[in-house]
Amino acid sequence: MEDNKSGKNNMDAMMQEWMKASTGFWTSMLKADPASAPDFVPPDQEGKKNRYVESMEATLKRMQSASSALNDPQMADAILKGLNTLPEFFMKISKAGWEASARIQGKVAEKAGKIGQKTDAYQFENLDQGIFKAWREIYEEEFSQYFKIPQLGLTRYYQERLNHLLDQANVLRPTLSEFLYLIYLPMEKSVKVFQDKIEELSKAGNAPDKAKDYYNLWIKILEGHYMNLFKSPEYLAAMEELIKQMEVYVGAKNEVLQDLLQSLPIPTNKDMDNIYKDLYLMKKRIKVLEKKLAQKDKSQAA
């Protein structure tokens, strides 16, 4: 307790010293600058005060008042408290990270425990997609919100669009992984079923003796697995989700690109689409008018 108090006093003293030193430093620097000499006035502004000096003096005054405010122990305490909350903020973020990591590890361990369990041929019900679901939930609960913090100021829209792109990239990655995992599943299953089949044939003395026959057997099993997978609701849901997330990602990317292109003399897709639409409608109208005219000419000639 006593240590804490003395530590705080030391901190206050250090802060006051630093403020004094920095104010003194900038005062002497101001004096050393020839342009800031009080008697230096640009020829066209005679009779007026040097603007540079005026500005520097104002800054120094603000520093001095801040310094004297900090000398007030209550004020210094409030600032230090504010500074103390920063580590808390970072701790909160890293805590979320640790928790997510622990939950993922738990899921991986759970999945590892299932290795070696029986693989049902051509069955794709109740697929173990828990790890992807867990990651998605964790991301949505713990991380996604940081990208959705309301942005302020002049560049708020640009920042918001950039954050949306980063957020969407993070959402797309696990969705793509889940889809690839599903695509790989028939490979995994077909090898297992193929091994069982070979064992069965060997026991019966009917094992093929040519490599091509083994290959044909495996490719047939693989094809069957893919056909079943592609009709499963799990695959359809994963495909739908991937396409959806991909669309949102491409849309977010296009918006950021559009922001960048605006600063260059290059038309954006949006600009071009507007022109294309006008062109399309104009061409359509012209074609109709041309036909009407041709018909009129024909009837007149007749």
Binding site: A211, F230, E247, K284
Partner: protein, 425 residues
């Protein structure tokens, strides 16, 4: 534990023999791959006789006399390219048609760019197609033309024939989806699951590469693994490599599909299945299949995984024509046009069918019905109908001609996908 009953000696002997064979193939393959290869596609000479925006009309030069009075217009899908019908000289539907005395025209839809994203199905059918048909009629002096459609192009032809029956003498649809309410093809299941509107809003057009990836994903075991294993096994054969490369060139020559066209095709056809129910509206006009009163020949493949038979075989029952015929071939989506077996059956049968119907003039129904609820955004020209149409009743009762109707073969042994692919290649 049971002992596996495989002789180790036998396995080792086989491995040695196969290694020797692989070495031999590799030597031959290096000679083939490093030597000159003939992989050009669509080499049959033609003239571009009409152009509108990105769309071109090809008119093929006939090697002999034109013996059919009515010219034939072939409309390909917006997916992939029409070069498939003229893939190589010895397997060319185009050349078979020309040798059969047909005056042949074909639409080349070109490569849509972002500026085509607002082009709709109405623009394709009542715009480009209608202008092309008018051009052919004017150029040849024929009162009507024969119309043949492939896949999505066939769907366009069905719509066109229903909206402009007075201009079409005979209609041929091949692997043409008209009934989209089926779970037989993965494509149908997937198309219903995805949010097309969002895709189009994001990408503008549907990128060809995305579509190709989707097609590969329909059967990755065969299309991404087995096909190339087959290639490595046979790459010692020059003709095999040439055919394989031609096919690869065609498969991956995939133009983008205009956004608004794809949006409507996915929503009105795949999701709502409006065409077969006579509820579809194109350019403010309802598409009534009963208005299709001309003879109709409908081809499809039994093992088509993109457009399954269930998506094709309802059409003949829904049209107004009494002269209809379904022909199912024991092949897949592309095999109909390029497999050597189908080359002998498909195109020659079409020539015969057209020849039998080439002489007579047929009464036609004039499509004048408009929905009234949704007027066309652009006023359509009212075209003068064919004189025959004004004199005769709308619905034809023409008796079925004496054409031997092939009975649908009952399939007993289903060829494997590998066989189908190998046959195709």
């Amino acid at each position: 534990m049971d002992q596996a009953k495989i002789s180790l000696d036998l396995i080792l002997a086989n491995i040695a023999a196969e290694a020797e064979k692989a070495q031999d193939t590799a030597t031959k393959a290096s000679e083939v791959l490093l030597g000159p290869l003939e992989t050009a596609m669509a080499t049959t000479p033609y003239d571009v006789v009409y152009e509108e925006d990105r769309v071109k009309l090809k008119h093929y030069r006939t090697p002999g006399d034109v013996t059919l009075k009515t010219p034939l217009l072939v409309t390909y899908a917006l997916i992939n390219r029409e070069t498939m019908l003229d893939l190589q000289p010895d397997r060319s539907v185009v050349q078979t048609f020309l040798n059969g005395g047909i005056d042949l025209y074909m639409i080349d839809w070109g490569y849509p760019t972002r500026q085509d994203r607002f082009v709709t199905i109405d623009d394709h059918i009542n715009g480009y197609m209608d202008n092309i048909v008018d051009y052919i009629i004017e150029k040849t002096g024929a009162p009507q033309i024969n119309l043949m459609g492939i896949c999505m192009g066939g769907t366009f032809c069905v719509i066109y024939a229903a909206l402009h029956p007075e201009k079409i003498k005979n209609l041929i649809t091949t692997v043409t989806p008209t009934n989209f309410d089926t779970d037989k093809g993965l494509l149908h299941i997937w198309m219903r699951a995805i949010d097309t509107d969002k895709i189009i809003d994001t990408f503008g057009n549907l990128p060809g590469d995305v579509m190709n990836l989707g097609f590969l994903m329909l059967n990755p075991a065969r299309l991404m693994i087995d096909k190339y294993v087959g290639f490595f096994e046979s790459m010692g054969s020059k003709s095999f490599v040439e055919n394989f490369v031609r096919m690869e060139k065609w498969i991956f020559d995939s133009p983008d599909v205009p956004g608004e066209t794809f949006r409507q095709f996915a929503n009105d056809f795949y999701k709502k299945n409006l065409l077969i129910q006579n509820k579809l509206e194109i350019g403010g006009r309802r598409v009534d299949l009963k208005k299709i009163t001309m003879p109709l020949l409908n081809y499809y493949g039994i093992y088509d995984h993109l457009v399954p038979p269930e998506a094709c075989n309802m059409l003949t029952k829904c049209v107004g024509s009494s002269d209809t015929e379904d022909v199912s071939l024991d092949t897949g989506h592309i095999g109909i046009y390029v497999s050597s077996k189908c080359q002998r059956e498909f195109a020659p049968k079409i020539i015969r069918w057209l020849r039998e119907r080439d002489g007579e003039q047929r009464p036609v129904a004039v499509a004048t019905e408009t929905s009234g609820e949704q007027p066309s955004p652009v006023p359509r020209l009212k075209r003068p109908s064919h004189p025959a149409a004004e004199k005769k009743p709308a619905r034809t009762t023409r008796p079925r001609p004496e054409v031997p109707r092939p009975t649908r073969k009952e399939q007993t042994i289903k060829p494997s996908l590998t066989q189908v692919i190998q046959e195709t290649i």
